[in-house]
């Protein structure tokens, strides 16, 4: 059992994080053309709504929730100190989880029943569907059976996650958790590790800078005033070719 715990709770996270980090940077730097959300709305534009929208908003909330708890566990505990607020958090998170699951199932059905989509679907798509559905189901299961997740996540799991990032992995507490929770942890790190090899990678490039970017973009190959300055021969300036 110790071997398994060590493998899945220590080795797997480090491998997954290393693969995620190196793979994503490599793909971003050298494989820009493959960096795409690969939207299939253009081929099927109706059923997508009932899959993509509930899934994405659900996952956005759930992921942010996990991230906030990971970054400021005390904040979550403070929020949960009042039962009403705890209920609000837990119930809304559960609803978003359900929304994720419904979205995923709709997406899965859509992708495999629309003839056109077969030609923009690869094996990895199936793998990530399965992983995400498994992850969502275990997440919902845990939230329903082991209450209240938001609280014990902050006290039990966050220290474990912090210990991973501090390079002093401590699984003494986590290894005693039920197997469903472990499955959820394993699923999470598998998904992280698979990001550079799948379309999931598009979550790394959310267009946030669009919010403050000016609408119009004009680019010059080099400083347009410098071009004509005799003191700066062109050869000194490598053109900024994107």
């Amino acid at each position: 059992m110790d071997v398994l715990n060590n493998f899945f709770l220590i080795a797997l996270p480090y491998v997954a994080l290393a693969v995620f980090l190196i793979g994503s940077i490599y793909r971003y730097t050298y494989k820009g053309f493959q960096f795409s959300s690969l939207s299939s709305q253009f081929l099927e534009g109706r059923k997508l709504f009932y899959g993509s929208v509930p899934f994405h908003w659900g996952v956005l909330f759930i992921f942010t929730g996990h991230l906030v708890a990971f970054l400021i566990p005390r904040g979550i505990l403070a929020w949960n100190s009042q039962p009403l607020r705890l209920m609000i958090l837990e119930i809304s998170a559960f609803i978003f989880g359900i929304s994720m699951l419904v979205g995923l199932i709709n997406l899965l059905i859509r992708r495999y029943t629309t003839p056109r989509l077969r030609f923009v679907t690869n094996k990895m798509d199936f793998v990530i569907y399965m992983l995400l559905i498994l992850q969502t189901i275990t997440g919902l299961w845990i939230a329903y059976n082991f209450r209240w997740g938001s609280s014990w996540f902050s006290t039990l799991l966050v220290p474990y996650l912090h210990s991973i990032f501090k390079l002093q992995p401590d699984i003494s507490a986590v290894s005693l958790l039920p197997w469903t929770v472990k499955l959820h942890i394993i699923g999470a790190f598998t998904i992280i590790g698979i990001v550079p090899f799948s379309r999931l990678i598009h979550f790394l490039v959310p267009p946030i800078d669009y919010i403050w970017r000016p609408y119009q973009q004009v680019r010059w190959y080099w400083g347009r005033r410098k071009v004509r300055s005799p003191r700066t021969p062109w050869s000194l300036h490598r053109p900024k070719n994107n």
């Binding site: 053309f33 056109r116 669009y210 004009v218």
Partner: protein, 516 residues
């Protein structure tokens, strides 16, 4: 004054014969690839007609372009708030059926079918699924079919035209139509650039070409919605948007773009315009009726010393300024005032201008009584029971413009945001040039009449001759005045185009594979 240069275009619609050579030239070079088969960066539409994609001009459907509300100009169907909240599902995205499902034919069946009693046929197959399909739509499905109920009557520009006027246009015998070739307008206020959440689309400073960086595009697909001309296309296979690149590798080498080079009717002109970028914002915010004038105000006189000085300060190359002085586009658009942008009310400040067609509007259909004539005819001779006359006489010069059979409203809806006076002004000039040239070449028009026509149109004989020369007799070098590129080093950074041909297009380094 922030002087920039823009490669701009003029299409002379009177000369377009609708042969689609431009479309084919473009297709062969750029979009003959998987996922791009349905794209026609250059397409030719029959007007009146629904166009490609179907009814693209109806922004109540496609939500493209900019709209002015309470004095503020914003994107109609995209923008920061809408773009980011609709990023998971874009409610205004046209899907492939709005264009057409790309197809080919199983030509091999013609050769390889076993011997039998019947003739082998080449069945159409979808280029997406590879399965046999019934072709329902094509990129020029409405070609020459302006009279049919499916196409011409659904033209979005028809909404302001009375049923009676429409009937005159539609009766098959009285049909009037013209061709509208369309490419990306390389706008000064491009909606696609403004809508791109990932910032992949940009306008090149040196020549104003609008490009999509294929390495940065993330398939958020807002540009497809935002472009009111539907000239940004989503490649369903690579998950990247693509658009007309104005053949920039050719432009940089001083060559005309493929569509323009191959133009059989020689309708296309391409040249440099110098414009004042500081004025763009105020130009865009004008009222609908001022949009064209605002746009023309942006364009600067390339002979003006102050303009030249400011241009040089901004790093506009001497060769570009020189080209601007010989630009055929400047002459048509600004000097002679003959060309108009397509749908200026979309507020993108398109840099592709059209000389509105005069030919289909010149003739009038007159009701005549043919009974006397028919009674005189031999009883067994074929009789036409119609009683109209296709009258091409221009005896009453402006009279014909007032009772034209092709409603002025229709042309105005296309080229001047509905302002009929603007189109009428162009038509007067076009007609005056014809009458003047008839005086010169045939001589059956009196000097008084010809001079009066010219004066009414605001032209002189010399200007009319110049218009005639550039319209009818232009040499290749007069139609395309393209400055030598000053990006020799940048060109060297590009890889050989052949490496990426058939995969993702130009400018991509290395082997191109679809994302996983």
């Amino acid at each position: 004054m922030d002087v920039r240069s823009q490669i701009a275009m003029v299409f002379h619609l009177d000369k377009c014969i609708g042969c689609h050579t431009c479309s084919i030239a473009c297709k062969n070079i750029w979009t003959d690839r998987k996922g791009a088969e349905y794209m026609w960066w250059n397409n030719v539409e029959t007007k009146p007609g629904t166009g490609y994609p179907t009814k693209w001009e109806d922004q109540e459907i496609y939500r493209g372009g900019w709209e002015k509300k309470n004095g503020k100009v914003s994107l109609k169907g995209a923008g920061k708030r809408r773009g980011l909240t609709n990023i998971f599902y874009n409610p205004n995205l046209p899907i492939i059926d709005d264009y057409y499902e790309p197809f080919t034919y199983k030509y091999l069946d013609l050769i390889e079918s076993p011997e039998g009693d019947d003739q082998p046929t080449a069945r159409p197959v979808s280029l997406i699924t590879g399965k046999p399909i019934d072709i329902k739509m094509g990129p020029n499905w409405d070609d020459d079919l302006s009279g049919t109920p499916d196409f011409a009557r659904n033209d979005p520009n028809m909404k302001n035209i009375s049923p009676e006027e429409q009937e005159v246009m539609f009766q098959l015998e009285k049909m009037a139509f013209f061709y509208l070739p369309r490419i990306c307008n390389h706008c000064l206020n491009p909606a696609c650039v403004a809508s791109c959440p990932s910032g992949a689309i940009y306008k090149r400073g040196e020549d104003g070409v609008v490009l999509i960086n294929q390495e940065v595009c993330r398939a958020w697909r807002m540009c497809v919605t935002a472009c009111p001309y539907k000239k940004s296309y989503y490649n369903w296979y690579t998950g990247k948007s693509e658009k007309c690149i104005l053949c920039y590798p050719r432009i940089e080498a001083g060559l005309a773009p493929a569509c323009m080079h191959s133009c059989v009717g020689r309708i296309r002109y391409l040249g440099v315009l110098l414009y004042d970028a500081d004025k763009i914002e105020s130009a865009v915010h004008g009222d609908d009726k001022d949009l064209i004038n605002n746009q023309l105000d942006l364009i600067l006189d390339p002979f003006d010393k102050e303009v030249i000085r400011a241009a040089k300060m901004n790093g506009v190359a001497d060769s570009t300024i020189h080209a601007a002085q010989f630009s055929p586009v400047y002459k048509f658009v600004k000097e002679w005032g003959l060309a108009l942008p397509l749908h200026p009310e979309f507020r993108t400040l398109p840099m592709l201008f059209y000389v509105p067609p005069l030919l289909p509007v010149m003739a009038t259909v007159k009701k005549v009584d043919n009974k006397d004539q028919q009674d005189k005819m031999d009883p067994i001779a074929k009789k036409w029971d119609d009683n109209w006359l296709y009258d091409t006489s221009t005896k009453e010069l402006w009279g014909t413009l007032d009772e034209i059979r092709f409603p002025l409203k229709y042309i105005a809806s296309l080229f001047s945001a509905g302002d009929e006076e603007i189109v009428k002004d162009k038509w007067k000039k076009l007609l005056a040039v014809r009458i003047h040239r008839r005086r010169v070449t045939v001589g059956d028009v009196s000097d008084e009449k010809a001079d009066a026509t010219l004066a009414d149109a605001g032209l002189t004989a010399a200007v009319a001759d110049a218009i005639y020369a550039l319209t009818s007799l232009p040499k290749f070098e007069e139609r395309f005045v393209i400055p030598a590129a000053h990006r020799e080093q940048a060109i060297e950074m590009m890889d050989f185009t052949g490496d990426a041909k058939g995969e993702a297009g130009f400018g991509i380094k290395g082997k191109v594979k679809r994302g996983i």
